[in-house]
């Protein structure tokens, strides 16, 4: 502290002259323990996910990870996960969306009205539905961002209004069936392109799917490696090679396990491809794009963000528009999967999406959270639902367990923060 003296003013405030002098440094040893606990906190959710999978694998005698069940898991939870992506962004910005379930219902109803009752070609109908979702988001975003009503209230109102619109559009009855193409997106699988392979444990697996999986894993490895190399080139401290390689290896094994199982069943569900694309796109948005950074800045300190020239209102508005569009995607997927748009569709889905975000490490005050975390949170709940239904547990037990997991996840986060001393 006292090294600061009258004669040692800052040598310069210009970064260019000093940055070149930075040598490659490793994190000092005494930060080793901190590095570990920081890793635990960041990765606690993934460890919990692994434990829950292990638990239900044992309880179900391995049925949980059976090819068909993995496929079901993805398809059954896809719409919640899509909503969770939008929800985590809104929660990072310090808001909430209670209307997601109703928006899913009304957009599903609109798409059904267009495709089923009016014979609009399905691509056009989907486009119109997405635009409707965007308009719904714009409506809510206007009240939140420009009128200054708390999102809790605006979306609570929206929850009622859009449910009412759903009933009005549907005339209080389900509309279906949907065109085959839409059903395929929601419920179908990629076709076989290259045939099956017939060796050993991979017997009957689809070759193209396996190759796709390998390409995906290779992509992860290459981008992560390049990112790490780039950081080292800039003299930043990076995690130890052993830890880095271990993480990549685990990721590769997990991805390939899922891919192999899916390849042995009916190939990749189209909705998984859609989901993967969305996760990738939104992860990049939050990590690497100015707009994404502004979301964190707004949630972290609204006043500071405003005084840093960030267009807070505009960012908030577009976040809700985005949520509306994602709600519409989820609406189409859900309706397509059930092959009908129903008046009670999506009831309570907003709560599942919110729970996914918080289990995945979002903070109630905003400013914290990751897309991958929300997806993991959603999958944790999906696995609990699925696993408990496989072992024939009654609904009340499922709800009880899910509730406790949500509480435990947030309690752990609060505990970890207190330990780290940030909550002082």
């Amino acid at each position: 502290m006292t090294s600061v003296g009258p004669t040692t003013g800052p040598s310069t405030a210009v970064p260019e002259t000093t940055a070149s002098e930075i040598a490659v440094r490793k994190a000092p040893d005494r930060f080793g323990g901190r590095l570990f606990s920081a890793n635990l906190r960041q990765n606690g959710i993934y460890i919990a996910f692994a434990l829950i999978i292990a638990l239900f694998s044992v309880l179900t005698g391995g049925d949980l990870l059976a090819p068909q069940n993995i496929s079901n898991l993805v398809v059954q939870n896809s719409y919640i996960l899509i909503l969770a992506i939008g929800m985590i962004l809104i929660i990072i910005a310090g808001h909430i969306d209670l209307s997601a379930g109703s928006v899913l219902a009304v957009t599903g109803a609109i798409s059904a009205e267009l495709m089923v009752n009016n014979d609009v070609p399905w691509p056009l109908a989907i486009l119109i539905t997405l635009i409707c979702g965007g308009l719904i988001g714009a409506w809510q975003g206007y009240w939140v961002a420009y009128f200054g009503i708390p999102a809790f209230i605006v979306t609570l109102a929206g929850m009622l209004v859009f449910r009412a619109l759903t009933l009005a559009v549907l005339g209080n009855q389900g509309i279906g069936p949907f065109p085959d193409e839409v059903r395929t997106i929601a419920n179908g699988f990629m076709p076989t392109y290259l045939g099956n392979i017939g060796l050993g444990p991979l017997d009957g697996a689809d070759l193209f799917t396996l190759l796709l999986g390998l390409v995906f894993v290779a992509g992860i490895v290459v981008t992560q490696w390049r990112s790490r190399a780039g950081r080292m080139r800039y003299g930043q401290s990076v995690e130890p090679t052993a830890l880095f390689v271990t993480k990549l290896a685990i990721a590769a094994v997990v991805v390939m396990t899922v891919v192999v199982q899916l390849a042995r069943f009916k190939n990749l569900p189209w909705v998984l491809v859609l989901l993967a694309a969305l996760v990738l796109a939104y992860s990049l948005l939050t990590d690497r794009v100015v707009f994404g950074r502004h979301i964190y800045a707004i949630g972290g300190n609204l006043n500071a963000a405003t005084l840093s020239g960030i267009k807070v209102k505009s960012v908030t508005f577009w976040l809700f528009v985005n949520m509306g569009v994602l709600g519409a995607i989820a609406g189409i997927v859900f309706a397509g999967r059930l092959n009908q748009a129903g008046p009670t569709a999506g009831t309570g889905f907003e709560l599942d999406a919110i729970a996914a975000a918080f289990i995945g490490g979002a903070a109630v005050q905003g400013g914290v959270g990751r897309v991958v975390g929300a997806i993991t949170g959603g999958l944790i709940m999906g696995v609990i639902n699925n696993g408990m239904s496989l072992i024939g547990a009654p609904t009340e037990q499922v709800m009880l367990f899910k509730g406790l997991v949500l509480l435990a996840a947030v309690a752990f986060d609060v505990f970890a923060k207190r330990r780290a001393g940030t909550a002082r």
Binding site: P6, A13, G309
Partner: protein, 509 residues
Amino acid sequence: MTDVILQMRHITKTFPGVTALNDVNLTVRRGEIHAICGENGAGKSTLMKVLSGVHPHGDYTGDITLDGQPCRFGNIRDSERLGVVIIHQELALCPNLSIAENIFLGNERAPRGVVNWNRTNADAAELMQRVGLHENPTTPAMDLGVGKQQLVEIAKALSKRVRLLILDEPTAALNDEDSAHLLDLLRGLRDQGITCVIISHKLNEIRAVADSTTILRDGRTIETLDMAADVTEDRIIAGMVGRDLEHRFPEHEPRIGEEVLRIEDWTVHSPTQHGRVVVAGANLSLRRGEIVGLAGLMGAGRTELAMSVFGRSYGIGISGRIFKDGREIRLKTVGDAIRHGLAYATEDRKRYGLNLIEDIKRNVSAAGLNKLATRGWIHDNEEYRVADGFRLGMNIKAPNVSAVTGKLSGGNQQKVVLSKWLFTDADVLILDEPTRGIDVGAKYEIYSIINHMADQGKAVLVISSELPELLGVCDRIYAMSAGRITGQVTREQATPERLMQFMTKVKEQ
């Protein structure tokens, strides 16, 4: 040695990776005002948290003796029961509750669990009388200014039959008048036999009020000075920084260029109080390489002037003209202001300046992110490099730029804020209370940074409530009073008395 009320011996407290207190000793005599000084991070607040039970017994090593009895506080309630009350720097009043409710919060006048409101308000009125707070006990706390809220806190402490009152930077947010009142009050309490321990950065106040002063440095006790002897501010500073500090302000030879910003007839109305004029017809100009001060008492409209200029981030009904490099510009949003090379570093870092849960690098880049991005894509390695350059150049004490800003000391947080604005390439920097809550050593560094900015040809407007600071760093000083610019003086003409005359000048009709 006279009657000793408190003795802390060999107190050592460690946090993971840091030794905050290392064998600290503190002896406080009964009925004295005992000041504790030290740079930020010297361990003052930690020591007081140990004393008040925030860090419970067992978390630290060493002994605490109160009135000769060894004490082992497990929490704040334990210490309060023995009459040790701490008032934290950030006041902890419930804004919607009345003064009386706040005073008796957790200690309600409620026989058998039912609140007796007559007694609550009557008792509160009596306590308020003692601290010189002339308000209705039923007034909500949010309607009071910071100075009066501070008095409510003290009344609250008195209601707990306080014997040892600890105040953590009580005057940090107060104006001179409120500070003076508070110091008088402390003297009064001393005469009533209440011992006070006061943590303060304001050395003139310590000199005015303290009977003895203990200096901490780097978690160690350096010395305890008896203030009855004539202890100078420089003497205290020498103890705090561990060396003689001949000059509190770095030498600076200004190289002043042409005018860069001119504000004409600037008028701002209050957004909350209808019709109230906060800034009235202000004229002001800044030149390249010039450090200009803006003096004024609380409520003079300095911050309001600065923020309304900075993209209308404060106020309604704004009128007036702004000229940048001789051309009139319109700044409707903060974004406009930043694009035209203005920067405003707020007086309240934690609430308005920093995202405390984010790391240094993301705070540094927050206002200039577009410089680090092509078509919306952020070059994160470049961001790291820029931030690390500022960390080294500004001497921000953190292991790397991934450190969370909420954990930095005030001085280092301020350096992050300044880095953020330097990165936007602003050529007009408005620094609002740039050294508030910052220790002496870091203040010197901030002054050096300000000088460096001026040397780069930037114009700097320093808003400060500390006159010595303005006199020490500024080439020219404007004074404001009740929304008007009441005068300006050059460095040569400036004296505290002269400035104070302008600052207290009432509007002439």
